[in-house]
């Protein structure tokens, strides 16, 4: 019915700037993960005080101050690392990026130590009571996201050290840092819910 060759309508192209695909994708990912965490947070809050037996939060939880400082600082170091990357200061970037990685690793190690203490000294496991179930699930879900982030950070570090990273990868690095900020923000929520409200 229509003359195939007619389009475009001989219009001049208007000013046309659309957002970057990667950015929108990471925002979508963050959105859906936020919803996932919300479900576990909701379960945690719902079950506060409802355990029939076993150790209560007040009895066994200690504020994870050091690990929190480490994790939140890693958000700062990653911002500086990005700045260094933009200025093409390769060694500084690698240093700051490594620092971010190390801080994340420290966070995970301290979480593992805390879990070891809770399980073997305090007798709190995922099957002990409702507190145990919701605690390990929520904190564990967060920790799994930290592990994924750690893998991504490690990957970038390896690429940088082998000389494969260039300015064209700037946005990808920024997307990883956005994911990382998300993980840290979730920790703020988890910390508040578990160690402040829940106790």
């Amino acid at each position: 019915m229509i003359n195939e060759a007619s389009l475009p309508l001989a219009l001049e192209a208007p000013e046309w700037k659309l957002p970057s695909s990667r950015k929108v994708a990471v925002v979508c990912l963050v959105l859906t993960e936020t919803c996932l965490f919300s479900i576990f947070v909701a379960a945690y809050l719902f079950y506060v005080g409802k355990s029939l037996t076993g150790p209560s939060p007040r009895e066994v939880l200690e504020l994870p101050v050091l690990s929190t400082i480490c994790l939140l600082s890693s958000s700062i170091t990653i911002v500086f690392a990005e700045g260094a990357f933009k200025k093409e200061r390769k060694r500084l970037f690698q240093l700051l990026w490594l620092l971010t990685l190390v801080l994340a690793a420290v966070f995970l190690t301290m979480t593992a130590i805390e879990w070891h203490r809770l399980i073997y000294e305090k007798g709190l496991t995922i099957s002990t009571n409702l507190f145990g179930t919701t605690f390990y699930s929520l904190v564990g879900l967060h920790a799994s996201h930290v592990i994924v982030g750690l893998c991504l950070l490690l990957l970038v570090l390896i690429f940088s050290l082998t000389g494969s990273l260039a300015q064209m990868h700037r946005e990808r690095i920024q997307m990883i840092s956005w994911y990382w900020h998300f993980v840290d923000a979730v920790w703020v929520i988890v910390f508040t819910v578990v160690y402040v409200i829940g106790r």
Partner: protein, 561 residues
């Protein structure tokens, strides 16, 4: 002409071996192929789950029937429901979106083609895993088979104590896989829509199907975690000794229901909204008028999406919530009916004053409108909490949701298939066979589901494998079963039509329906790159402007601002 020759449909059968063609499907990242793969696979599951429904109806046709024992029956209704929602509904909308969105917004492919392929294969593997449960779930102790806990798998029936063997685990794991597929597909469609529109296509110039796909996919991102989260919790209960839904340890069975329906209610809108989108493309073309109230249609859909996350507990009115809780959810449910009704009125307004052509896509749309009207009204009835106390968990509800899912969703999808099949394949579906499909399906649908409402009003609960005589249910059930047979035949005719017309249908050309959106500018089927030159648009109906330079849309749209 040069363009035409490059884009001839398919590969000539003589040129490429079967293995080669299969290989191309396996490695493809082309949104068009993947879209068709989604839809094709979904149609296979439709037939399988449909046959289960026929078996269920045969068992219920007479009282105290022994055609199916309780175990087989309970697995059938669980697998039927789970398959229809997750292995038919979700992939059809994913396929429709992945196929059409790039074509409608004037771009060459989705934003993340490999992610697109990943999503399809996750869906396929999830579906196969669910059906593998028939073989794998008995495990060593011989318990279990396919899941038999109902498609919404209420706790604590799904706990280790009551659900032995691995059947429930298959239900969980297969759906976790398909949910990953749905999530990545959703991200892909959203990113494509936001970042790859052709120059001039502002958000308020997109075809309504694209808008509605955007809304639906955002809802997928928000709603699916409810299900996945609850399923992970259930896995923790079943394997790590967790107590999320363990009532013996103080856990709550009701919280499963909350989490499930926080997913489950938006899910049904996730399915319906693309059907709305299809209607908003098809009804205008066959009424020869633009959609009535485009901005309102966008706004109403966004409202539906927003309100729909606040209505979930209307599935739980009999659970024993407080009167305040019950009233709140009744109110939110009534409110979501308003933008939904507005959409019906706008379609009506589109047809009003038009020159309606009763081609097959339009026939299915007209049936949709009547049926969706009824479905919406029975939904309003169900929102009246005291009435709900009688109707919930009865065959009235089964009738209501089949009215929405078959009478509206499936009819809308059939309309979409008849409308866009010529574009995808290059040939029209046979009209005569299509009319048989349509009329048999309409008759069968109404015989089955109109009657079913009355079984519910007479006290027949759902999910029962048999019933005694003397309850007043015998005749109604028999009639309901007869309708199912009609529907099965109709779908069979459709399947035959799809296969036959691929080789023997009338050639469609670029624009068989005299339509107005960008996909109709390409050849049928489109070349793998979609558009040789990236289009530039100035209005919502670029082809209308081309065909009617004396009365172009952009004149009206620019005065709108």
């Amino acid at each position: 002409m040069a363009i035409r020759e490059i884009a001839l449909p398919g590969n000539r059968a003589t040129d490429v071996s079967f293995v080669d063609r299969l290989h191309r499907l396996v490695v493809t990242v082309d949104h068009k192929k993947l879209g068709l793969m989604y839809i094709g696979t979904a149609l296979v599951f439709l037939v399988v789950a449909g046959l289960m429904a026929v078996a269920i109806r045969l068992q219920l046709a007479i009282p105290v029937n022994t055609f199916l024992g309780p175990d087989v029956f309970n697995r059938f209704f669980t697998m039927h429901g789970t398959s229809m929602v997750f292995l038919v509904g979700m992939p059809i909308i994913a396929g429709l979106g992945n196929y059409l969105v790039p074509l409608m917004i004037g771009t060459r492919d989705m934003a993340f083609p490999r992610l697109n392929a990943f999503g399809y294969w996750m869906f396929l593997f999830g579906g196969l895993l669910l059906y593998f449960s028939y073989l794998g779930a008995p495990g060593l102790a011989g318990h279990g088979s396919a899941p038999d806990v109902g498609w919404f798998a209420y706790a604590p029936l799904t706990g280790r104590a009551f659900s032995r063997g691995n059947s429930t685990d298959y239900w969980i794991l297969s759906l976790l896989l398909t949910s990953v597929g749905s999530t990545v597909s959703a991200i892909n469609v959203i990113v494509t829509t936001i970042t790859l529109r052709c120059p001039g296509m502002k958000l308020m110039r997109m075809p309504l199907l694209v808008w509605l796909m955007l809304v639906t996919n955002f809802m997928i991102l928000l709603a699916l975690p409810g299900l996945s989260g609850a399923q992970i919790m259930l896995l923790i209960d079943r394997y790590l000794g967790g107590h999320f839904f363990d009532t013996q340890a103080g856990g709550s069975a009701v919280i499963w229901q909350h989490f499930f329906w926080i997913f489950g209610h938006p899910e049904v809108y996730i399915l319906m909204i693309p059907a709305f989108g299809s209607l908003s493309e098809i009804v205008p073309v066959f009424s020869r008028k633009p959609i009535f109230g485009y901005p309102i249609m966008v706004g109403a859909t966004v409202m539906i999406g927003l309100i729909s996350v606040s209505v979930w507990a209307h599935h739980m009115f009999s659970v024993g919530m407080t009167s305040v809780g019950n009233t709140f959810f009744a109110i939110s449910t009534f409110l979501v009916a308003i933008p939904t009704g507005i959409k019906i009125f706008n379609w009506l307004g589109t047809m009003y004053g038009g020159r309606i052509r009763f081609e097959l896509p339009m026939l299915f749309c007209i049936a949709f409108l009547f049926q969706f009207l009824i479905a919406g009204l029975t939904g309003v009835m169900l929102a009246v909490v005291p009435f709900n106390w009688q109707l919930t968990d009865s065959y009235f509800v089964v009738a209501h949701f089949h009215y929405t899912l078959v009478g509206a969703f499936l009819f809308g999808m059939f309309a979409a298939f008849y409308y866009w099949y010529p574009k995808a394949v290059g040939r029209l579906l046979d009209r005569r066979l299509g009319l048989w499909h349509f009329w048999l399906f309409v008759i069968g649908f109404h015989v089955t589901f109109d009657t079913m409402h009355f079984s519910g009003l007479l006290g027949m609960p759902r999910r029962i494998f048999t019933y005694d005589g003397g309850r007043g249910w015998e005749t109604l059930n028999f009639v309901t079963t007869v309708g199912a047979v009609f529907q099965a035949v109709a779908v069979l005719l459709f399947a035959i039509n799809v296969v036959r017309s691929a080789k023997r249908g009338k050639l469609a050309g670029n624009d068989p329906w005299d339509a107005w959106t960008l996909e109709w500018t390409t050849t049928s089927p489109p070349p793998v790159y979609n558009f040789e030159d990236v289009p530039i648009v100035r209005s919502r109906r670029p082809l209308w402007d081309l065909k009617h330079p004396e009365d172009p849309d952009w004149k009206y749209e620019e005065s709108e601002n």
